[in-house]
Amino acid sequence: MSLFLIAALPFLGAVFPALLIRAGRNAAASAAGLTTFLALMGLLIHIPSVMRGDVVTARFDWIPRLGLNANFMLDGLGFLFALLILVIGLLIILYARFYLSREDPMGQFYTYLLLFQGAMVGIVLSDNILLLIVFWELTSLSSFLLIGYWKHLPDGRQGARMALAVTGSGGLAMIAGMLILGNIVGSYDLSVILQNKALIQASPYYLPALILILLGAFTKSAQFPFHFWLPHAMAAPTPVSAYLHSATMVKAGLFLMARMWPVLAGTDAWFYIVATTGLITMLLGAVIALFKDDLKALLAFSTVSHLGLITMLLGFGTKIAAVAAIFHIINHATFKAALFMTAGIVDHETGTRNLKRLGGLRHLMPITFTIGTIAALSMAGLPPLNGFLSKEMMLEETVHTTWLHSHYLVPGLALLAALFSAAYSFRFVSHVFLGAQREDYPTHPHDPPVGLWLAPALLVVLVVLIGLNSAALVGPLIAVVTSAVIGGEKLPYYSLKLWHGFTPALYMSVVATLGGLFLLALHKRGEQVWNALPRPEAKVIFEAIIDALTRLSRWITDEMHNGVLSRYAIIFVAFTVGLGYYAYSTGTIGVETRVPLPAQIIPIIGWICLVGATLGIMWFHRNRLLSLVLIGVVGLIVSVAFNYLSAPDLALTQISVEVVTMILLLLSLNFLPTETPWDSSAARRWRDAAISVIAGLGTGALVYAMMMRDFAFPTISEFHLANSYKGGGGTNVVNVILVDFRGFDTFGEIIVLGIAALIIFALTESVLSTNVRSYLLNRKPHWPQSGDSHPLMMVVATRVMMPIALMVGAYIFFRGHNQPGGGFIAGLIVAIAYLMQYMASGYTWAIERQRFYYHGTIGWGVLIAAATGLGAWFNERPFLTSDFGYLHWPPLEEFEWATAMLFDTGVFLAVLGAVMLALDSLSRFAWQPGMAQEFPMDINPLRDSPPEQEQEKEQA
């Protein structure tokens, strides 16, 4: 079977349990089992080639530019691990079917399990270290789901998060390490990397790469000081623990070290980092395990200890140690999985995992007793079980190892660890099964159905068989695997026998076993001492750190983003000024090429008005009406200045915009408090003032500098001047630019204007549909209302002005192409003409006489402009290409037509509609019931009788 398919099968199969659970739990479990079985068969097909020492590969270029390719390879090492993963996976699936209760969502469980399995298989089959990382992190993610499977338990959630945090962070470090490694070699393919030992170890980046990769491996394999997550991952259902912590997740780190062994091992750095860490972990785990009362916690720390053992062996860097490591990986997987399952059975059948509440189960649960005892004795390292063989090899290796010139340190500590290891193994047996039968088990214990004990029983059979005849059973496999680990070099001499003669290792084994028994006898006393010692509680510390981090982050975030706009703005201004100055000071300023004109009296007066009004706004800005007036002054001066500087178009536009905005702003002021409250301290105001002054001076200086210099290059405006009449058919260059040269900008801008009006409308709608409406209805005006709200004089005046204003609008519109004017200004003028009617006779009166709705006006405007632009397509010209010509209709004079005129009509309508819609929306805030009036003005000559009499009439 293709390696792609082996790696993909678990992922593909993961879909089924989640779906099939609706067809029953057996269907879900069978789907999971069948998937795993298929993958296993696919793997087993490759036995002949693997045993020959061939490497099976499958390659697919995924992201060649990055070097991340879906390349898989199957050699001895990968085969061994894949075998462990799939076989134990199959057993776990069987076991879990009977372990999980009816309330547990089993479909999810198998889906997560298969995802995890797929990730693990992916790791061990990867031939590309980036691909390996992909699967590596996938194991972190899927184990997160598995550990947190019982999501209603706080332990499960915390354990899951802790595992994710620790192993995930290791994975991140590993990303960096792998990138460095790939960079040294020039390829991310393992098959290439593994050929380049000399290159890698000579590189200055060897050490950082090594440390970063080891961080990944150590966190995954729960090596000191990252071991703390593993025991807390025990909150998961026992099948998960049995799977993750015997054969898979934690072995991934070991796999990686074994995988990288040919190129990374053999240096001092490797030895001291890896072997020392392994040694410490082995000892620490063994000691803690002895004092754990929770059955699974005991097994968890024993796992930590054994992982340390294997890590240490790999760290020794000798080939024979590698053999021992591989052998122990196999053995540990078998007995530890069996032990976890036993623990699960005990938990399942007695209702507790607490060693203090157990004991004496050997008669009640004889099958479980047999399985558990054999597995535990193998863990203790007793002959003739498989644990004995690899432990012997390990002890033998430690004897040959010197650590910083000390011959005794490593063997001594290893012996101590072995001693504790024997002790906790014995404790597992004696405190669960031996001793007197108790009366207070939470439930009545008995052996479980065969479905539960079958899986561990099979494993225990392996434990015994491998122990009795290892050379025949696993000898060839170990040879193949080891040769893969040591990079295809010649295998060292070793023999997988129970009896090697009277070697130091044998003496050490005897000491460890006897010492273990002795320690167990002293356990009660030892426990008192242990409990008296201060011990850091990893979970508490971890949670405290995360909590503190979260609080700190929250504080930083909330302080930084406290919602004070003025502060955000001042940071913006200060940063801009700073960078602007930096940019200026790092360049060179050219010489001034223009001579300033002498100041004349009129501009000086204007300047004084402008500056005075601006300062006035600053000073009086809390009084909203007054500041609005002053803003009006500023706008007026700007308009006048435009006019003075010979820009009549701009002046016209500016002044009409001024009028319209002032009216709209006045309308809105109606609904606001008259004064802005003080909300900043004096110090802050002075600070803000200082920064604003600097920014203002900077802007002024920039403008001054620009005005004192000519353009560095000829400007494009010369083209516009030259082509305005010839190409655009108009003599008013400003208008031709607006509707022709840069008509597309105008098209965008009228849309902006239209959108603005639409937003005002939408906001009004949403505000008026809330309880704000009642506030508005009960609103008291700031000032006493005029008794004559629609005065006769004003109504008459505006009526008279209306046709005149419309006429002016039309005039301005039509002359626009050649004289100052145009659609934009015309739109504003016509809008003002309507505005006046609103003001004079009131909103309700005006709205009743309105014949068209303003949304449509805006829409028509934009559409006409767009249609004008599209018309050019039919003449094989780009969007917005204009055309013009001359017509002569007698008796009229010859006149010009231009498509730009049509476009300008669009502009006109959009502007008109936008202004009117804004006005209309704002006016609706002021609407009150009973406002509707029949007549345009308060005192109306058309009325038959004065209003007082009318009221009397009505009342009568």
Partner: protein, 514 residues
């Protein structure tokens, strides 16, 4: 005459007013036309991407005025892919907005939506600096409306800040354009580029000021620290489908930086040397850090996702600020990923908020918890840059491309540590929201919502099936981006090559090419 280039602008520009005029009182018709419009936009985007992928640069002279005197639209690989991304993003979002009923909670949602698309597409396609300003205005003003869509005091307050801050940005944009015009006398981007290259060395100060102001404007849009303050509150308080659409808006800033600072003020241009890379890189690192801290420190899912958006902009700008072809290729890949991932998370946040409110704290279990939590898990994986989704590939690309940077160690450390904190933050949020709700010990029986401000209007979605379909659409986008990472990276690499050979762009625009 090939009019395809201008179609992504003209189509929404016609559709939106049509929707206001004719369909004003017919929400169902608005929906039909809106979705059809987005589908059509997608078709157009695919067409122009196909046209651009060959490597030709197409120029469209509006009004038939020759560059640099008129306005031009320019279609190259980068603008094509950005338009495509916009259309791809818009489709699930518009469907979601319809399915969740968000479009019915205020007026003119679909019109504003299409105006927004018009502004974004225009910004990607234009070859004229002032026209870029116009399209910035279009997209900004439409975004003001979309942001405050549905109203409510909190949202309006956030909206006011958003508008005010962006008005500062618009003003600065005018200053920048004025300065650049004042020196070079032109507005066409390609023309600016030729003139900047020729500017005498003793007269660079004003041009440098103009360039740096322009960069600052783009940085505001891209939410680079310390100019990001507008983002958290406005994204967190905007309607979530709108926030999802805004995922493209920050990218407009990033796009503009890439465009202007490879074309006109590129790394090899003497006059503007040292303006972009030197401070942008550290600022991007800080952006990433602050975004990440915000993810961990948020109490509300929407705010958390807003900080996710900031963090991903940080990563993106780390890549952009190196201004090398490799890093740019990585950045362009990451743009795609980051946009889709951010949008996905915002939509998931809306699913959560509609069912239980957005607080990152345990509440009683919500309906469809399993499906929503699975989607959150996918979104979180993508956002944190975990395998197997495109975020991981993007992160690897950025790391890989920055290994030759002067401060590579720093860059790597910040990226990896932020990934770590992001993982912790998202895992924390996820477990609190989805898992802890099953813990009967931890969840108060009664909702304590009596005196608190009511969460979003918790109306049951009219069409939950369609809503989920839309969200799965975003997921599908991420998966496709992962599976076809090879070809995608190939495209972005070619795009980067095109960007770093600006002479082709310039000759296409100014050489009078048809």
């Amino acid at each position: 005459m090939n009019h395809w280039i201008v179609a992504p602008i003209v189509l929404p520009a016609i559709l939106a007013p049509f929707s206001i005029m004719v369909l004003r009182y017919h929400l169902d018709l608005q929906r039909i036309f809106s979705v059809a419009g987005v589908v059509a936009l997608l078709g157009i985007a695919l067409t122009i991407t196909a046209q651009a992928s060959g490597g030709d640069i197409q120029v469209y002279e509006l009004g038939d005025w020759p560059a640099p005197f008129g306005i031009v639209m320019v279609l190259d690989r980068m603008s094509a892919m950005m338009v495509l991304l916009t259309a791809l993003l818009a489709l699930p979002i518009v469907l979601y907005a319809i399915a969740s009923g968000w479009d019915d909670r205020g007026k003119h949602f679909h019109a504003l939506f299409h105006f927004q698309l018009m502004g974004v597409c225009g910004a990607f396609l234009t070859g004229d600096a002032f026209n870029l300003f116009v399209f910035f205005e279009v997209l900004l003003i439409a975004s003001y409306g979309l942001m405050t869509h549905g109203g409510g005091a909190v949202r309006l307050k956030a909206g006011v800040q958003y508008v005010a801050y962006n008005l500062l940005g618009s003003t600065l944009f005018l200053f920048a354009l004025g300065t650049i015009y004042g020196v070079t006398g032109t507005l066409n981007m390609a023309d600016i580029a030729t003139r900047v290259a020729e500017i005498p060395a003793e007269d660079t100060a004003l041009l440098r000021v103009g360039a740096v102001l322009l960069l600052l404007v783009f940085c505001i849009k891209a939410a680079v620290l310390p100019l990001h303050f507008w983002l958290p509150a406005s994204y967190a308080n905007a309607p979530m489908p709108v926030a999802a659409l805004f995922a493209i808006m920050t990218k407009v800033g990033a796009y503009s930086i890439l465009r202007m600072f490879t074309l006109a003020f590129g790394p090899d241009v003497a006059a503007t040397e040292g303006l972009a890379g030197e401070w942008l890189q550290p600022a991007a690192l800080v952006t990433l850090a602050v975004g990440t801290i915000g993810i961990l420190g948020s109490k509300h899912i929407a705010r958390m996702v807003a900080f996710c958006a900031i963090a991903s902009m940080g990563t993106l700008l780390i890549a952009i600020s190196q201004f090398t072809p490799d890093a740019t290729a990585a950045a362009l890949y990451y743009v795609f990923h980051s946009t889709l991932a951010t949008a996905l998370l915002f939509l998931v946040a809306d699913l959560v908020m509609a069912r239980r409110g957005g607080a990152i704290a345990p509440t009683p279990p919500m309906p469809q918890s399993g499906l929503v939590s699975a989607l959150f898990f996918v979104g979180a994986i993508a956002m944190a840059g975990m395998p197997p989704l495109s975020g991981f590939i993007g992160k690897l690309l950025v790391l890989d491309a920055s290994r030759d940077a002067s401060d590579a160690t720093m860059v790597w450390a910040v990226i990896l540590i932020s990934s770590f904190v992001t993982i912790i933050g998202l895992a924390r949020a996820g477990t609190l929201i989805f898992w802890k709700s099953h813990d009967t010990q931890a969840v108060p029986i009664e909702m304590p919502a009596e005196n608190e401000a009511a969460p979003e209007p918790v109306a049951p979605e009219p069409q939950p099936g369609l809503a989920f379909t839309a969200v799965f659409g975003a997921v599908a986008g991420l998966i496709l981006l992962t599976l076809f990472a090879g070809p995608a990276l190939e495209y972005t690499s070619q795009t980067a090559e095109q960007l770093f050979a600006p002479e082709n762009y310039i000759s296409a625009v100014l050489g009078g090419a048809e």
